[in-house]
Symmetry: D2
Subunit: 335 residues, 4 copies
């Protein structure tokens, strides 16, 4: 039984805690949150203990591993604490908004055998895994062009956007990781375009973008386009299309159910899409816990780790630089 | 150049005339209609001659073949006239509402080498032909179950319904023919259910049904279900599904275009369906003319002939008997 | 906490036991099976007790309710025992292969307030529920025609087929229940066709059919067609299509994932279907337990009960009679 | 009757000639080709006259208008000749491979009221028109992101590629025009990535690319991504997706027919795609003739004209520059 403490019990932390409780070889070892009242409430609701601090959780003999779902600014500190204590860590993305902080964290944990996993949940989606499996099985031949469409169902609150680190570090970061996952070779160049169309005033104020398109290429010439919007009125749009010398495979969105309606003037209508990421990726979130438990038990590297988190952040930096300077940015110039 | 006279220039006759004009090896030789004013108008519009009578058209040296699109009651007479004159005939369905009349007509033309083709247009639809080809190529193994869904977009006018001969002879007749086309062996038993749901008062008055389901089986046990309704608010519903020991192949409906729309609450909406049969089966109607021209030129039997029209009518009689008597009817008991 | 004993721990019983363990307000109270070795193994694996007999399970003070997943011949006895003991019962279909036995059971439990639920799992499928909700919300207007396609991915072993009670009582029984669920009014007439196409020799020996089509109508004229096959090579085919005066809504099959592949000669291929019922209806099986727990807690009638099981069996009897006698059977003549 | 001479009777010219012959208000006035034997053969086959030179065709009193489907290098000359003679011109894309030549041609015909139409056939596709209509009707709100996927079914012969002017001027030119058509405002910036993945040796030799991705933005921030490949093994891939503040509308590919096949291991397979552009866009090519005839009759500007051809070429130049210099190119810097 891997006893996991959850640091940060906002919406994502709570969801992870529930998945830990459901996993046959994992147990919830307690929770911590800077909002003490919230931590108390959640601990009571889940029938677990509340830790007074992250340090207490890390030090506890009843804790084998850590799940970090606290605010981004704390991620790197908590990773370092967990690794120092020899306790496997599963950390939500991003590692940090600052690449410098990520680098110092990387330096600190370098050489440690303690498993550190990044919560890039989309790699664990059934459809995405099927695309990856098809690529690896050679079903589409050599991958030539990859298209990732990722649109949120609605703009997050201004308070969230303001501290998010910007769309590339906050939202596209998932797609950067997916791109690396599917491409199977490192990305060499990034070119991005950013627009302010959903909420121009907010974006102007935050010096951010709500609508972006990013084109990337590997040294071998494989191309990837990521299309993001902060608001799709038809719901959480999550699609991947991989085109190669031997064919094309794509994953489609997930509607609420598998019905189709035909009425006057419109036929074959599917219902609304699953909304939002917790519903859309529920199987994947459970699989994340499964992978973490497996890696922690075996003391092996998880399927997606710290370096993946660092590389995704480098791509985010490159994209931002590309928009700002109106040029194609070489990854070798970053970090 | 096969010079074809069109007898009856209502909506269907005019459509056929246009297709004759477009065919590279056919020419419109003139038109006849009991409504003389209509005939005059059409002849002028199409730049062709008007015949004063069907007899005149048949006898004309400028006429090589006949297309019969006049009222049902005249079909058998005109077929007999054409065959007697040695002129190939393409006749719209049904041959006649009375099986007796069909039998006497059959007796009269028996032994003649003159091609007589029945206008069962659906056999010439691209999708239906692809299903047939898949069956013949063994793609679905042995055919076990066939489902034909056929629903009109709206109830025909009462004046039409009253003289239509009833839903089985007027509407299902197409599906009976399709069933024979796909099954590839003669049907042995018919069991039907009829309801009055679209316009109960009209159906009551006409002793007819607007909603029917017919189950048929061949001697070998292959099954076919036909589902008909006189009114589908989402449009002209025309689907076939063939299930066999090796797989399943189905044809879907044809929307106005190949777009899909996603908006709040509904995703993947296709537009309305092509409406009505002249639009839905436009390619097929052109192919009907092509087959007729080919058969007439070669003096060979057309792909679908008089006997197919007779067999479809027998199935209609059997279905009606089944509804009336609440029993499974053997085809060997009919006709 | 509702403590539920599981009687019969074959494949279905075990699956139910796992779902009980996962339900937050239910607990597995023990298992019983006539195969004592199997019962011991399962009890150990699930960390629960083994009962020496069904009687012991029913009598145990540690048991609040019963889940009956034993062989069909024991269902009625166990239902009677549970009701006599005042313990809510969730019974797998069918109640019994003999309508007479069902009637005596009905008489014995008549008037008891103890909840008896039938395990018609398909009513709890997300897609089927969405169809039902659409009908009830008036989205398709008045229901006119219902089509249920239900095909197993492969023929069950001969040993199973021989004691199954025949395709109507064993397989179609689910579809009969679904038909009643969607139609919302009792069925008046049944007409069925049976063929032996998948394994003619076995079917001949068992006097059974592997390929059947059943047409039913309510007194009001609503029509329903059920299409069954014991073997679909493309997998577990489970579809429902409801057509009404205002539109049509259908549920489609569930492939393994939401990918589509395009290669030379074929485009838009979805993967194989979920196979078999435990995978296809996994959410629905969990929802069955949820409904049972809710009904048992409240002492209320469950959403699907004993009478639904009896009515489905009556339809099976009627279908068999229709095939044997080649006629449309009135339900009022049965039972 | 608009009497149209066809200059250049290769595959495209012959197809246009056939469509002219089918149009009710157009007639084929003769053909010219530098390959005199080919011209003779086609003239005989189509029952029309052969002109000894383009000059003769333009000067002929029996010619009202010109359709230019000759080699690209002749387009600008023939346009100038037609306009000088006061005869409406329909010219295949591109106007010329050199922007300078296009500019001198523009200067020569400036101010003339003679209709000059560019053969950007995709604007006339039913699906694309439906997307445009949906945008104009406000169905997707404000357009934010447009994605055009355009892949050829196979690499053209090396001899063609070598003189094609490169992928941007030869192939993407259609997509540049479509982008302008849908965006409804001029494009401000272009950023492109080019790879050599289909036939690296040939592309190296021609200093060309076979796999490109182009991102464009309007001054208002609307984004468009074009994805091109010279070879898709699953066929001619032609899709458009328009995303806006109120929804998304997309056109899908066109398979050979509307069937779906399910067999062991794969379900819902559509057949191969229509291949190639003459089949895929056959309705659109006919509509091009219709629009040209209408514009010529009325002496009005056609729906797509010379300036559209010039703008598309400017975008091609910008894309090439972007790939070469690794930067986002402003359209205002070109031309």
């Amino acid at each position: 039984m891997l006893r996991i403490a959850v640091l940060g019990v906002g919406r994502i932390g709570r969801m992870h805690a529930a998945n830990i409780a459901l996993h046959p070889r994992a147990a919830l070892a307690g929770v911590f949150d800077v909002n003490d009242a919230a931590a108390t409430e959640i601990a009571t609701a889940l029938g677990t203990v509340k830790f007074a601090s992250a340090e207490e959780a890390v030090a506890s003999e009843a804790v084998d591993a850590l799940l970090i779902a606290s605010s981004t600014a704390t991620h790197a500190d908590f990773i370092e604490m967990g690794v120092a204590a020899g306790k496997p860590v599963l950390c939500e993305k991003p590692i940090d908004l600052s690449l410098e902080r990520v680098e110092t964290c990387a330096a600190k944990i370098a050489g440690s055998p303690v498993p550190v996993m990044l919560g890039f949940v989309r790699r664990f989606d059934t459809g995405h895994r099927a695309v990856k499996a098809a690529i690896e099985a050679g079903r589409i031949g050599d991958l030539h062009q990859l298209a990732i469409t990722s649109r949120d169902p609605g703009l997050a609150p201004a308070a969230y956007i303001e501290v998010s680190g910007g769309i590339f570090r906050d939202m596209t970061i998932h797609d950067f990781d997916l791109a690396r996952y599917f491409l199977g070779e490192e990305i060499a160049t990034v070119s991005a375009t950013g627009s302010r169309l959903v909420d121009p005033a907010l974006m102007e104020r935050c010096d951010d973008y709500d609508t972006v398109t990013i084109t990337m290429a590997t040294a071998g010439g494989k191309q990837c386009v990521i299309t993001n919007s902060r608001r799709a009125v038809y719901g959480y749009d999550q699609r991947v299309e991989a085109f190669g010398s031997g064919g094309m495979i794509a994953t489609d969105n997930k509607p609420l159910d598998n019905t189709r309606f035909s009425g006057p003037g419109a036929t074959g209508q599917a219902p609304a899409l699953l909304d939002f990421f917790i519903e859309r990726y529920d199987d994947a979130f459970a699989a994340v816990i499964g992978e973490f438990v497996g890696a922690a038990e075996a003391g092996r590297a998880p399927a997606v780790g710290f370096e993946d988190g660092r590389q995704a952040l480098i791509l985010a930096e490159a994209a931002l630089l590309s928009v700002r300077e109106g040029r194609t940015v070489s990854i070798s110039d970053i970090g």
